[in-house]
C-alpha cells in the first residue's frame, strides 16, 4: 500500500469514525434528552423499574408502616433496611409494574441494619451489587425511594438530586438512642432520608449503583437530621453471606433434634416475657453462677444469633436451642448497648 493511499484510507476512516460516533450520539438521544437540561429521564426510568415499595408492620404512633427496597437478583431477592416494618406477619412487596407479592424474610444483618427479602419472581430487572461504584465527594447523585409513600401500585417511585458532600462514619441517634449502625456512610446535600425512604437507592448520573438510603436519624452531637447512604461496598459481603445461607432466619428445623437438647433454664438465662408475636430476645435475668453468668452474659443483652442463625424473637431462641445437644459448645452473638459481641457457651 502506498503512502498516499494509506493517508487517504486513514483520513476516510477517521472521518467515518467521527461521523458514526456523532450520529450514534444523536440517535441515542431524542430531542428532549439531547438538551443538556434534560438528561436524566432514561436513567431515572431504568432505576425506578428496579425499586420496590414495601408495606409491613408499624402504622401507629408516628411509625410509618412502609419503606423502600430494590431488586438485586433476577429471581426476586430484595435488599432493604432492617427495621420494624419487616417485623410483621406479612410483608408486602410491590414491584414497579404494580404487581404485589408477599415477601419472605431471608435474613438480615443487625449490625449493618440491612435485610434481604425474597419474592416469587423470575427474570426481573435488578441492580448488580458487584458493579456498584464508590461514593466520591462532589459527585452528582440521584436518590430514588418511595418517600412519604407518595407512590402506590404501579406509580413510579420518587427521584431527587444532590451531591455527595462527605464520606465518613455515621455518628447518629434515633430518638433518645444511639443509632445501631455506626459504619461508613456518605452524606448527601439533598433531603433524601425522609419517612419511607430507607432501603431506596443512590445512583450516579450514569445509573450505576452507589449506595442504599439509610434510616431517618439525627447527628448525635448537633441534633440535625442526617441525609446519607450506606456504600454498597460496605454491605455487599454481608448480602453475599445471607445469599450463601449465613445470617438467615430459619423457622423450619429439618435437623434431627438431640434427645437431650439445650435449654435456657440449663444455661441460667431468663428472657423477657414473650408478649408479642416476635418479642425481641432481651435477657431479663441471669442466674448466679450459671453457665451464662460465667460466660459473661448480663441483663439487657439482646440475643442476635445462635451459631450464625438469626433469633429475631424469643421463640426463635427456644427453637434453635432445641437442635443443640446439651454437651455441645455453641456460639452466641449478642448486642450490648451499641456494640456486638460473640460469646462461646458450654454447660
Amino acid at each position: 500500500m502506498s503512502n498516499r493511499r494509506m493517508r487517504l484510507v486513514t483520513t476516510l476512516a477517521l472521518a467515518i469514525l467521527c461521523f458514526m460516533d456523532a450520529r450514534a450520539g444523536l440517535n441515542a438521544q431524542d430531542e428532549r434528552a439531547s438538551s443538556p437540561l434534560n438528561q436524566y429521564s432514561s436513567v431515572v426510568r431504568s432505576a425506578q423499574s428496579k425499586i420496590v415499595k414495601i408495606n409491613g408492620g408499624g402504622g401507629f404512633r408516628g411509625l410509618e408502616s412502609y419503606q423502600s427496597g430494590f431488586l438485586i437478583s433476577d429471581d426476586g431477592l430484595v435488599l432493604t433496611s432492617w427495621s420494624y416494618v419487616l417485623d410483621a406477619d406479612a410483608i408486602y412487596v410491590t414491584l414497579d409494574d404494580g404487581t404485589r407479592n408477599e415477601g419472605k424474610l431471608v435474613g438480615y444483618d443487625p449490625q449493618l441494619e440491612i435485610a434481604v427479602l425474597k419474592i416469587d419472581a423470575t427474570a426481573v430487572d435488578h441492580f448488580n451489587l458487584d458493579t456498584a461504584v464508590l461514593p466520591r465527594v462532589g459527585s452528582r447523585v440521584l436518590a430514588l425511594s418511595n418517600l412519604f409513600r407518595v407512590a402506590t401500585g404501579d406509580e413510579p417511585v420518587s427521584v431527587q438530586r444532590g451531591f455527595v458532600s462527605a464520606v465518613t462514619n455515621l455518628s447518629a441517634r434515633k430518638g433518645a438512642f444511639e443509632s445501631v449502625y455506626q459504619g461508613p456512610v456518605f452524606l448527601i446535600d439533598a433531603i433524601t432520608n425522609n419517612p419511607g425512604a430507607s432501603g431506596g437507592v443512590i445512583i450516579n448520573r450514569e445509573g450505576r449503583l452507589i449506595g442504599m438510603i439509610g434510616k431517618e436519624v439525627k447527628d448525635s452531637s448537633l441534633g440535625t437530621w442526617l441525609n446519607f447512604g450506606i456504600p454498597i461496598e460496605t454491605i455487599n459481603q454481608s448480602v453475599q453471606e445471607i445469599r450463601d445461607g449465613k445470617m438467615i432466619v430459619q423457622r423450619e428445623q429439618n435437623q434431627r433434634k438431640p434427645t437431650e437438647p439445650m435449654t435456657l433454664e440449663l444455661l441460667g438465662v431468663v428472657l423477657v416475657p414473650d408478649v408479642v408475636n416476635q418479642t425481641p430476645p432481651f435477657i431479663d435475668r441471669i442466674v448466679a453462677d450459671s453457665a451464662a453468668d460465667k460466660a459473661g452474659l448480663a441483663p439487657d443483652d439482646l440475643l442476635i444469633s445462635i451459631d450464625g442463625q438469626l433469633t429475631p424473637g424469643t421463640r426463635d431462641v427456644r427453637s434453635l436451642l432445641e437442635s443443640i445437644d446439651r454437651d455441645a459448645t455453641f456460639q452466641l452473638m449478642i448486642r450490648r448497648g451499641k456494640s456486638f459481641e460473640t460469646i462461646q457457651l458450654k454447660l
Binding site: A24, P36, N38, Y40, R45, V150, P156, Q160
Partner: protein, 606 residues
Amino acid sequence: MSPIYKTRSNLSVSPFVLIALSVAIVFHCFNGQDALGKPLCVQENTQLKAAEAQKIATIGQLLKTAVCIFGPGGKGGGSGVVVSADGYVVTNYHVVQSCGKFMKCSMADGQLYDGVIVGIDPVGDVAIVQLLGRDDFPFTKFADSDTVEPGDWCFAVGNPFLLATDFQPTVSWGIVSGTHRYQYPAGTLLEYTDCIQTDAAINPGNSGGPLFAANGKLIGINGRGSFEKRNRVNVGVGYAISSNQVQHFLSHLKSGRIVDHATVDFTVTTNESGEVRINDILTESQVFRRGARFDDELLEFAGHTITSTNQFKNLLGIYPKGWRVPIKFRRPANPETGDKPETFELFVRLSGVHDTEELIEMMEGKSARVAPQPKLPQPPEKSPPQDQPAIAKESRTPDPSLHESRRGFANYRFNRVRRTELWRRFTGENNWQEMDFGWRVICKNAQNEEITIVLNDRESGYRSKQQTIVLDSEIDLALQPEPKGSGGLLVTLHLWRKMLLQGPEKFGDTVYMGAVPNQYPQPSQYEWMQATSEGVETNWLFNPIGVLSSVEMFPEPDADPCQVVLEQYRAQQGLQFPTLIKYRHAAGDWQSLTVERIEILGDADE
C-alpha cells in the same frame, strides 16, 4: 535503513495511533464522565457554558412574570404568576383565602400593584387575581404538563417565607421527582390530583408560584409539600398543580365564579386481571342513558388510556364541572346471549362533585370542619421585618367597584363583564332588539317539505303538512317538548328568539361559565353561557370566533336536552341569521331545517 524509510515506517504506523486517539477523544466527548473525575473535553465545556448562559437568560426572563402576594397588613401571602398581558395571575386558593377582595402584589420590576380577586377553585386550590394599572404586564403561558418526565430539570419561583420585602422573587432549582401524583385532601377541600412532585425547594410562601421546566415552559403551580416531623420547611418533596389542570379551569376561573370539579356518575373497580370495570352506575345519568352499563370495561377517558382505578380517579380531578369528554367502554362478551365483546364511545357532559350550595357551605364551614390545612405551606406567623417597605403603610386603595359580591361568585363583576363581552362579540353590528316583532321562519326539512315556525312573545307555533302546534303560555314550557321526538325544538327556538331580542341580562338568570369542548357543529372549544328562563335551563355555546353555534334546552335538569345547532349565518332582514338549523333529542339522528326566509310579523299577523 535510510532515514526516509524510517519516516515512511512512522507514517504507516501513525494512522492506527490516530484512529485509536480519535476514538478515545470521541468517546470522551459523547459518553461524558463524572464532572470531578476526569477533565472535561473542550467541546462539552463549551456546551455546558452555553447551557448555563441559556439557563440564566431563561430564569431572568421568567422572573419578570412572577408575583409576590402580600395579605392585608403584610401578614400572610404567597406567590403567583402572570398569564396574560392584562394582568391575570394564577395562584393558590389557600393564598388568597385570607386576603379578602383586594391584595398587594409585587413584581420584579420593583413595583407594587393592587390585585383584585377574580375566581376560585377551592377543591383544586387554584385562584385567579387580576393585577390593576397596566395592560402590558410581562406574562408567560402554560405548557403541556404531560410532556414532563421524572428527572427533568425544573425551577420554582416565588416568595418563600415572604422574603420578597424588596419585591424580588426567589428561584429554587431542582428536578421533577414524580408526575401524575395524588395528594389526599387537606381537610375536606384542597385535593391535589395528577400533580407534579419536585425536589426544588417549596417552602411556606412559595404557594401559588410557578414551576417552570428548565426550558422555561410553565408546567405547574406550586401548592404544597410533605411536611411531617421536621417543621414546616422543605424536605425535598413539593407538589405543583399541573398546568394541564389549570388550563382546563382558566376560562372558568376568569368568569368570577366559585368553580367546582367534575365527576362521573359511575364508579369503577380494578379486577384481578387488571381491567377497570363499572361496579356502580346511576340510572338517571347521561352516561347510563347513552348505554353504559354495570360491568362495562372503561378503556379510555378524555383520550387517556385507563390502566387502574387510582389512575382514573387521579385523572378525573383535572376537569371542571360541565366539561365534556369522550369515554370509551368495552362491553364484555355475554355467553348467555352469545353477544360478542363490543367497544363503544360516548360523549358525556361531566356533572359536578358538589352542588353549588354544598361547596359554599364547605368553604364557609372551614373553621368548623377543616383543621386549616395542616400540610399546606402557609407562611409562619412571624412579625414583619422592621425594614419592611410600604406594604403596611400603603394608603392607596383600589376602586371598590372592581369587586361585586354575589352568592356563588368570588367576584360577580368579572362574570358580568365576560358575559357582556361575549354577547357583544356575537351581536357585533346586529341589533336584534329592532326585530321586536313576531318572526315567521319558513324552512324546508330533509324531505323538502315546507315547515313554518312562528316565534313571538306568547304563542310560538310550528306547522308542517301533518301537524300544527302552538305553545300554550298557560302551561310550563318544560311540559311542551314539541314537535314529537325533537325533545322541545319549538321551546328552544322560542327561547332563542327571546335571547336574541332581550340579551343575556334581561333573558333570565344568565351566567358566563367558561370554555368547554363540544363536538357540534365541529369538535372545538366553545364558550359556554348557562341561563334559566321561564323555568327552563339552557346552555348557549359560542364558537371560537364568538358566533352562537348551539343551544341546549333541558326540560328537566337530569333529562336529555333538545340540542339545536345553528349554522351558515347569512344576512336576513339586515341581520345575521342561521340558514341551517339542526336538532336532535338524546342520541337520536340529527334532523335539519334549511331556512328559506324570515318574515317579520306585525301585531295583527299572528
